[in-house]
Subunit: 434 residues, 2 copies
């Protein structure tokens, strides 16, 4: 047999390398959705198009996984997507939210595709509810905001807008039509970022994979008679800065019955808690890395739009970085157990404070200055606890920060209790000694 | 020029690979200390030899780095090896340890080579101090325990044993002579492990790289009149299990003056805190991985015996696993800040409890049953705080556990304050209403 000459060997090697490169390039191009590989989209999608099914024709993998958020009904230990009553799980919440709607109806959130159905079913909505409550529940809002302006939208009543709200959360809540760029769609987020001196148009794609979640997963309130949607971030997004904002503005969500405390209900501040120097955030991990892990359909690689707890897809979610997935899952479980234990202690302390406040408030001779101090302590304690309680991760998004905040909340709640007791004991003693 | 034939090319490749392997093998063998590469040791070391300099002749790299622990005098933000008064840094400690020696003299620990000098200099030692206090301060103890038995050793007075204690902490505290195997040398650790059903002789080398630190870096107490050294681990090494042990045995380190609480002083429970499911521990990281990182002297690879804060050698310590060392150091700083802030809140709560207890205890009419409950709450709160305060990492060894324990301590301290106020208010009211 003739030996191949060196030049033949070299030529063969060059051919193999070139052919390999060509095949890899073709596979990569094939893996991209049609519009992104230069092929005209199957369907032209209008700006702010509310109907996700139309976008889905161009992006079948993203859309078909997104549809799964409709069926998800699995609970994790402390969360998940099943329709579970938080009030039944932890009856302390009925006391903590006494006098406001969350004491009547407070369920675990289900998937994005269930958003519209669930907001219409909740008993927290009534004829006085503003349309603002639709802000984060529907893919119709970006086009309505563009058409009416957010202030006009928020002025409407919830039920008056219902005819124009037909779609649950969808593509238009996070994407620019056709370019599919991740964008800030909620004017309240735009305004909050501007107030912080930030321009999201300069953010990296990885930053946007966290910031788009802040279109909704944040603490917010309805400002003034217009019920204008505002994120309380003027001082910053830390709990102390948000608490200061509410103290400065004197805003109140409700008055605690009999205790008389002016209260704040926290919503779902996932963005604020996660970005407060959490380990994962500081390591450069975006929300989408864990909640929308990259997946494959044959040669096509795409981020799963079946947005849910990473614990329900740990191999894809945690496994992208952690070689030992069972270690990562066990860590999450342990951390959530520690936060949960501390959260229940905080609730007990708050309830003790509320009892003492009620007693003092019903005492006509109570020291009013001490009583006012006790109420401020109660408000500050409960809004801190709720910042972690309403945040959907049982502390896992930022374990040390969650536990630091709960420790502070316990301290403030017990001080509220002490101050309330002092308010009525002072009166009792003064009267007894008279 | 003649082209080399294929057979010549193949032969050359084989020679290069074999020669490379030979060189690598020789370098590896040369990197091992003489006794471990089959060469007889330069010096024969007797079992439990107290003089580290003798071992050092066989292990010059380990010994020379160990000697550096004598010079270390650098502070980190919350620790390090400089001789700093903790009482001056945080005067709350003077109140919290009132009535016992730590309120008079409580310094940051210096390096291992300074152990003997520092234990003799502390004003916590006096003529009643038992020899037990030498247990972890000298390389003489393993041979003395072997000779006298630990019970006989612990029965002696500190100053009576001083003539036989000539060496600071050294090789014999962790190593078996000649084999250099890591071993449990402290009989109290042996007994505590046996009580937990554990046999350290079956542990892996990686486990031993944590367990040998538990020869000293643990909570302990002196049992009975013999001042017998005991680790309170019968129920387990978690804080709740240790607290239960002390509650069951009724042990008391001191009586808090005027408040009357029966107190526990925690020592340095680094082992218990770290192994309570910390992230690093669960990931398989041993104490020695961070505090004694592998280093090189030319071809020789060895673990640095300059045992100190990893923050003072972050490239070697954190960098062995974390590609971004500045990220790891920043995380440590942030976590320690969060724990420190929470620790100071706990101290304030404890001091408030102590003030209320003193007032109640000085009130002859105070409700004695409520006062007893308040004292129990004070004891339980303070021992939890001290478990984290006396642990030398400002929570970094186990951030979530540290914050969980501090949150519980705040809650218990405020409950102690409430109960003490109730104890004397009840009396005051009863007397006023009479």
């Amino acid at each position: 047999m003739r030996r191949p000459s060196l030049s033949v060997l070299i030529l063969t090697a060059i051919i193999v390398v070139l052919a390999g490169g060509l095949i890899a390039t073709l596979l990569f191009v094939a893996s991209q959705p049609a519009p992104q590989r230069g092929i005209p989209p199957l369907v032209e999608v209008a700006p702010n198009e509310p109907v996700s099914a139309k976008w889905g024709l161009n992006f079948p993998n993203q859309y078909s996984t997104f549809l799964l958020t409709e069926q998800n009904a699995i609970s994790t230990t402390y969360g998940g997507s099943a329709l579970i009553s938080k009030l039944e799980q932890d009856p302390r919440l009925v006391t903590l939210f006494a006098g406001m709607a969350f004491s009547k109806d407070y369920n675990e959130d289900r998937g994005h595709r269930r958003s519209l159905e669930d907001v219409r079913a909740t008993r927290r909505v009534n004829e006085t509810t503003p349309a603002t409550c639709y802000s984060c529940k529907s893919a119709n809002t970006p086009s309505l905001w563009a058409e009416m302006g957010m202030r006009e939208f928020d002025k409407q009543k919830f039920f008056d807008m219902s005819a124009r709200i037909t779609e649950p959360i969808g593509c238009a809540n996070c994407h620019e039509a056709n370019t599919m760029r991740l964008i800030v769609t909620n004017p309240a987020l735009e305004e909050a970022l501007v107030a912080l001196g930030k321009d999201w148009r300069t953010f990296t794609r990885q930053e946007m994979r966290t910031v788009v979640c802040a279109n909704c997963h944040v603490e917010y309130y309805f400002q003034g008679d217009d019920k204008y949607l505002v994120f309380p971030w003027r001082n910053g997004t830390r709990i102390e800065e948000i608490a200061q904002y509410y103290a400065d503005t004197g805003f109140e969500d409700w008055k605690y019955p009999d205790a008389g405390t002016s209260m704040i209900k926290m919503q779902h501040p996932e963005y604020e808690v996660y970005t407060a120097d959490s380990t994962h955030y500081r390591a450069g991990v975006a929300c989408a890395d864990c909640h929308m892990p990259y997946t494959r359909d044959g040669a096509a690689k795409f981020s799963s739009h079946n947005i849910q707890s990473p614990l329900l897809m740990a191999e894809a979610a945690c496994g992208a970085c952690h070689t030992d997935v069972s270690y990562a899952v066990e860590r999450a479980k342990r951390i959530q157990d520690q936060v949960h234990e501390t959260m229940l202690k905080t609730e007990d302390a708050l309830i003790a404070a509320i009892e003492a406040l009620k007693a003092a408030a019903s005492d006509a001779n109570a020291d009013q200055s001490k009583l006012a101090e006790a109420r401020t302590l109660h408000r500050e304690a409960q809004l801190r606890w709720d910042f972690i309680s309403a945040e959907n991760s049982m502390g896992f998004h930022n374990p040390e920060e969650a536990l630091r905040i709960l420790a502070t909340a316990i301290d403030l709640a017990r001080q509220a209790q002490l101050k309330a007791i002092a308010a009525s004991q002072t009166a009792l003693l003064a009267s007894a000694l008279r």
